[in-house]
């Protein structure tokens, strides 16, 4: 640059990148071979998801009556006050108190609750993953993070087998949280310990037929 303003860091970095790539034709586009599997055959996705969730120390049950199963899980855990996103009906909670995030609960308020009940956007069977996209039945991200117990309801039609199948169902403009089992660490001698900062208990109810 001759005279004028000194180069901004952006211009400087971009100029360095272009000079570093002087050997690369500008109109080239490196082809990406996508010979990996998009989908695969294998055991039933519900069976596979259960297997993988159990492997990661999540509690899993296949249910047909959602409301009854949620109430039963909450009673078993003695969870009385729960964060509940707007899309989850009161009827699921039975005896327990539904605490709505409206106006938004503070982190301290969330910390005082016994847990959270949500749905999900997608579940990936092969990896035992549940993906939340902050939809009405899931709420904003803090809801499923601060309380120590997360009860998540997964419908059969939300389960895919592979990661590529999940990606194509997800909308990147939404905040996404991928959850595979409860919070864990392997930082001490690579011994896996479940339960650090996120919910220490993840319970998944898979709805296998219409409630």
């Amino acid at each position: 640059m001759v005279g004028g303003e000194p180069m901004s860091s952006k211009d400087q970095i971009l100029a360095r990148v272009r000079s570093a790539l002087a050997d690369v034709p500008r109109d080239e586009d490196v082809p990406v071979p996508r010979d990996y599997d998009h989908s695969r055959s294998g055991p039933d996705v519900v069976e596979l998801l259960v297997d993988r969730l159990v492997d990661y120390k999540a509690e899993v049950r296949e249910v047909d009556d959602v409301a009854a199963a949620v109430a039963e899980a909450l009673t078993r855990r003695r969870a009385r006050r729960l964060a509940v996103p707007s899309g989850i009906p009161d009827s699921w909670l039975a005896e327990a108190e539904a605490v709505r995030d409206d106006p938004p609960l503070t982190p301290a308020e969330l910390n005082a609750l016994d847990g959270v009940v949500t749905g999900c956007a997608v579940a990936i069977a092969e990896t035992g993953t549940i993906v939340l996209d902050a939809g009405p039945d899931q709420g904003r991200r803090a809801l499923t993070l601060v309380p120590d117990y997360h009860l998540c309801v997964v419908r059969r039609d939300q389960i895919v087998r592979t990661v590529p199948e999940a990606l194509e169902r997800l909308d990147p403009s939404r905040p996404l949280t991928w959850i595979s089992g409860p919070s864990a660490t392997s930082d001490i001698e690579l011994d896996r310990v479940e339960g650090v900062h996120g919910p220490r208990t993840l319970e998944v109810l898979i709805v296998v037929s219409r409630p």
Partner: protein, 465 residues
Amino acid sequence: MNSFVGMPSFPEASSVAVGDAQLRHNLRKATHTIRAKRAAVVGEQPDWAALREAGAAIKDRTLRHLDVYLERLEAAVVAAGGTVHWAADAAEANRIVTDLVKATGETEVVKVKSMATQEIDLNAALADAGIRAYETDLAELIVQLGDDWPSHILVPAIHRNRAEIREIFLEHMADWGRPAPPDLKDDPRALAEAARLHLRERFLSARVGISGANFAVAETGTLVVLESEGNGRMCLTLPETLISVVGIEKLVPTWQDLEVFMQLLPRSSTGERMNPYTSMWTGATEGQTFHLVLLDNGRTSVLADEVGRQALRCIRCSACLNVCPVYERAGGHAYGSVYPGPIGAILTPQLRGMAGPLEESLPYASTLCGACYEVCPVAINIPEVLLDLRAKAVTHGHVGQRLAMGAARRVLDSPRWLAVAQRSAGRFRRWTPKRLPGPLSAWSDTRDVPVPPKESFRQWWAASR
């Protein structure tokens, strides 16, 4: 506190580590455990080779047109309500982040484990400005409390065993917040629980979070952070202001590309089918203020090297560390940077240039066995880059090495000189020393000096023809 400036050369630093039996035991146990886990979950993925090929191609596609994707990413992040900053070097990145934190009026920040912020020594820069940075990843917490250096990309406290960690918690947690319970046991469960309690209040009251990112999607402006404990989610979600410092090589062109890396990274890294938590967000999310700091800090120099640029494909999985016979014995600290192991041996000298004895020695910190290349999920040919860097160390390296190589070339170039050299070597073979003199002793200290043969092949040929 912990700075890698003025580190000794690799052979010097590693000889200390090799003599530490406890360290070698910890490292061996850890690397062998994780190696087996990785092998098992990679083995169950039938299309692994195709994923690896795609991963390498996606990264090459990005790197070879990085300017295009950087501008695309900036536009997408800005469109989603974020602010993008460009930092040419560590000093500029630190200045940008410090100013952003100061503007919030806060004097404390919570941090997600991030290689980029370690590389620029952000915590020290923040401390100089009166801002305390709290590391929240369990291993980073152990390193921070122990005023120590990270020694592994994925598990930075891999060199510490449970008893040592218990001591560190009991002694230092109180300096940083809630003290450890006095009756703390040394089982990992109790130690993790102590960390949970120690950091809980800090998370709930944090106003500023600082992170890196594993991936940044140019097409959508989406940032991705993979983690295990939930400390990442805490730092990314709860604070009102989020600042992410991201190396310019972290980009991938499209949303679809994540389908490859979300399979390659967890299996290569922790040896899990999927890590417990991954956060993906685009711009200012759920009312947050979001700043993205794009960091060069030597990456464009790496990019300029046609052989060495493949090192920028690295997704920091650390699989190469866990299979490396040299890393297993020398430990992470000997590599003198936040990037240890085989990838560090090629990345550090390229990022910093052949700046001193450490950088010049790193390309030799390898047996060239190739295990690192084999496990690399983005197929970085580490041995190839090591050899190329060795050639550069010789060309630009210190005087003694240049003189020796120059002399060797003169002799090997001329049949006459070679014959003279071989004849005299044979004649004086009785005087072959056990230990070579001066700086050459470094070589003979760990090897037997070969005794030259009585006669050279050419002498033998001439005599027996």
